[in-house]
Every structure is written in C-alpha cells, then in structure tokens.
Symmetry: C2
Subunit: 314 residues, 2 copies
C-alpha cells in the first residue's frame, strides 16, 4: 500500500454546519487541532450544497459512493461528479492519496457523540474500538441494509463517521463542535499509536448492530398519520420493549412498538430517532441490537498494517 494521509471531511451534507466551521478554524489555526503527528487532508465534502445551505443539490452525496454509479458512463448529477472528484483527488489511488476517511456529521436526533461503522472491515473495527476505549463512544454498526448504501467512507481503506447531536440543521453550536473535535482527536491518537506499532486494544467492543428501520405510519397519499411519541423522542441508544409507546396519532392514539420476527426474543435499541433528513428516506428511527464482541487481534494487525503507511506532516 502506497503512503497516504488521513482525510478529515466535514460538510458532506451542506446543511450540517459544525464540522465545516471546525475545518475552517483548523485551516486558519493549525495549532487548534492535536494531529498526533499525522498529515491531514481537510476537505469540505459538498461545497456547492454547503454554499446553498442544503443537504444536497441533486442527491445525497453520502449515498453516491455506489461502485456501479461511480463507474457508470455519462457525467451523472452534481453529487456523483463530486464523489468522483473526491476519489480522484483523495482516494487511495488519487493525486493526493488518503488511506483513512473520517467523516464528521451532525444530526437532529439525540445521538450524543457517536460513531457509525459500515460493515465489519477489521481496520474500521480496530479504530472504533480504540475510540470507544478512550471516550466511551457508542457505535452504530450499519450493515445488511440494501436500501441505504453508497457511503463515502466505504470507498477508503479505513474510515468511519462521527455523528453528533442533537443540533438543528443550519446551526453551529459550540458544544457540538467540541464533541466532534474530541472524537476526531481520539481517532488520530489511535491511528498514531497503530502507526507506531504500539496499538493497545481493549478486550471488548460494544456495538449496536443495525436490524432495520421503521417509517412513520402514513396515509394513502404518503403524508404522515402519526409522529414520534413524546416518550420516545430523544431516547436514542435506549432499548424499546414490546408494547412501549412508539408513535402518536393526531387524534392522540398511542401506537405501541410491535417487535417483528426474532426481535421478540431479545431487546432492540433505537437510534436516529426523528432525524430531519431521514423523513424522505422513510426512516423515523432505526432499530439495533446491542452486542458485546471480543476484540480480535487481527483487527489491530489490519489497522497497524494500514497505519504504517500514514504520512507525517510534510
């Protein structure tokens, strides 16, 4: 593997303003960010959507990194063009290559300071485990969801999403920025340790593994027939049991949670409850299972092999 930098992305969604604010601050005052001796590429994910103050212009950039789309003929829409440009610039084979992608997001859901990991790539799991060891961050393991694919970080050899909330779209809040920076610095510390061949892994990794998503009940014309129940709003990363309040209709009728299939056996935990941008995706919340995994030495080896090629500042 050729040498490369760590790519730090903010503003993949143009109405998430906290990470772009940080990127600009770190550009102007490099000393504000503890880089742990690593060369960083600071990248505004979707500059056109950022300028417009909208999540995206044509389609969600963070669903545009689908190999079949990226390789399709024709120019594609503006987000697909940006996805290709990011890979050409900072993909592992790009002109200024990066080996790791850390994508800083915010959410209107009460997710606190958390991580999203896509699938089970060993280096990703080692990085997430190291961050959890340092800051206790909860981890949403997103996998086996055919309706939601094409995430940016999947196209880099290692990468994950930092997701901080609740914060409204279009708003910069100092505490959200602080949480984002803490998560990023923890990631860089883990990567630097791996680069030095001195990664100390925790014994266990706690993940919330994606099981599926629930949409709001809807009328025939697609309009919502209920909203998230006030007793469920803001209760991300918590279990939801059969019969507990889930939605509330306009008439004031509570719709309880009905587990489906094997969800009856074990409790499920809710995440991304009432995220503003997921309404159009038909997601009112997602359901996960909380699992405690032993940390495999092979994960750390994978991250160490990769991190060995990370560049120091030039």
């Amino acid at each position: 593997m050729a040498a490369g930098q760590v790519m730090v992305v903010g503003g993949t969604h143009g109405n998430e303003r906290n990470a772009p604010w940080l990127l600009e601050a770190w550009r102007q005052h490099p000393g504000l960010l503890h880089r742990h001796g690593l060369a960083l590429e600071l990248v505004l994910g979707n500059p056109a959507a950022h300028a417009a103050g909208r999540r995206y212009l044509d389609q969600d950039l963070n669903r545009s990194f689908v190999p079949a789309l990226l390789e399709a003929p024709g120019p594609g829409d503006r987000e697909l063009q940006r996805a290709r440009q990011l890979l050409a610039l900072h993909g592992p084979e790009g002109s200024a290559p990066c080996l790791v992608a850390l994508d800083l997001h915010s959410t209107t859901a009460a997710m606190g300071n958390g991580l999203v990991v896509y699938g089970r790539r060993p280096a990703d799991l080692a990085l997430a485990a190291g961050m959890q060891q340092r800051l206790g961050l909860p981890i949403y393991l997103h996998e086996q969801d055919r309706a939601q694919t094409g995430y940016l970080v999947e196209r880099w050899p290692c990468g994950l999403v930092v997701e901080v909330g609740p914060v409204p779209q279009g708003v910069i809040q100092s505490t959200i920025c602080r949480q984002s920076q803490l998560a990023l610095e923890a990631a860089l510390e883990v990567l630097a340790e791996a680069r030095a061949g001195a990664l100390r892994q925790p014994a266990r990794l706690v993940v919330h593994r994606h099981q599926g998503s629930l949409d709001l009940p809807r009328h025939g014309d697609g309009s919502p027939a209920a909203v998230v129940h006030p007793q469920r709003q803001g209760r991300d990363w918590r279990p939801i049991g059969a019969g507990e309040p889930l939605f509330l209709t306009a008439e004031g009728t509570t719709i309880p949670f009905h587990p489906s299939g094997d969800q009856v056996e074990e409790p499920v935990w809710a995440v991304f409850i009432n995220e503003a941008a997921y309404g159009e995706k038909g997601i009112a919340l997602s359901l996960t299972r909380r699992e405690v995994w032993p940390v495999a030495p092979a994960w750390g080896q994978a991250l160490t092999d990769l991190a060995r090629n990370l560049q120091r500042p030039g």
Copy 2:
C-alpha cells in the same frame, strides 16, 4: 367593519413542519381543536415552500407583506404572489374575509412557547395580554426595526405570531405541537370572550421590547469569526449583563457582551439566540428590555369592537 373569520396560519415558512401537521389534523378531525365557537379559516401559508421543505423559494414570505411591495406593478416573485393571494382570499376585504390572523411558527432557538407582537395596536395588545394571563406566555414586542418589516399578521386588523422552540427545521415533535395548540386555544378563548362582550383583562402586561439585534463577529469575506458562546446558547428570555460571555472564537477566545448606548443603564434580555434562519439576516440574537405595562381599558375595547364581527361556524 364587515364580518369575518379567524385565520389560523401554519407553514408560512416551508421548513417549519409542526403547525402544518396540526392544520391537517384539525381539518380531518375538527373535534381535536377547541374552537370556542369561532369560525376558523385554516391556511397553509406557503404551500410551494412546504412542498420543497424549504423556508421559502424566492424570498421570506413573512417579510413580503410590505405595502410598497404588495402594491408594486408586475407579478413579483413567488412569495409576493402568495402574499397577494392570501390577502385577496382572506384579507379583511377578501373573498372569504378574516379579521384576525394567528400565525403559528417554530424556531431552533429555545424560546419555549412565546408570542411575537408587531408594534402596539391596541387589539393585538389585548389579545396578547389575555393569552399571557391564561398561560404565562412571554411576549416579544417587535417594533422600530427598519431592517425587518413586512410581517403577515400586520396586514390583518388584529394578529400575532405564536413562536415555539427549540425544534430543528424539518422535524415534527409532539411536545412542540402540543404547545402550539395550547397557545392557539388560549387565543381563541380570549377572542370568544371579547366577542361576547365579556373580556376580563389582566392588570398588567409584561413585554420584552425589541432594542436591536447582534450579528456574529465576521471575517472580511463575511464568514463567521465566532459562534454563540456555550454559556449563552439556549438562554433565551434571560438577561445578559455587561462583560458576560456572548461569543466564542475558533481559537477559544470569549467575546463578552458590551452594551451600547443607553443599554448600560438597564439590563437587556436576549431572544432568538442562534435561530437557524436568521444567519442570513445577520442576526445571531436580538436584545430586548423587559417592561411591565399597565393594561389600558382601550385595548380591550378595541378587541371587543373587532371581535363582535367574528363569525360563528356556519
């Protein structure tokens, strides 16, 4: 004055979703709203912006009700067309005339359940005083701000804004809906009492009177040089004293509040702190003075004279 209804508006801003959700619920289930015997016109303020999920398409509809704009030749932009249409339909001289406009908004600022009154029209003050008497709602009296004009409710003989938050743009939260409905029902109760000639006014009205607005410190290129200080975020309706933290720069420097002019004498109180939509207006927060006014009998008389012409459901 000819007879008319009470106009209840939601979705004047297309990304504020709570009031439109309520309007739809009340249309489908009229019994959900206690109307206090008054005929209501339920109006989606900006349907095109609502469909697009954006605050507005061309310009802010709630700054478009400027007489000079409304009377200007030419078709105007889409919001100006909608403003004229609303007046043609439901203005006091419209085809389905309304005498009172109650405009239901939400905000990303921590305003709780509050009212905005524009200027000092006696009927508006009587209505606001009655609502404050019932629910204790704080009142932002907006006046003498030449940079912000053209509010919808100003073009009806009586009207005010209900402003509930914090809630992100694009999100429906049950508690926000509940607060909005409580405020609306209090307004209808006051109007019904006035219509019956039985208005009981409180002795005093507490207002937070607009003094001016502060923008974020900015770089030469217009980008923010600081954000709202974490000790100020969420502290709407509270006093801010000289030297107290106001903004925080990227480098971590606290910028304290410096009162200007006669603000040194008396404390000022902050409202609309970090409202997402006000960034483009150059408003990071607004400053008010808290004042306790005796309630004038003439206010109640003005509201009674007007409410006498309110129609009952047909």
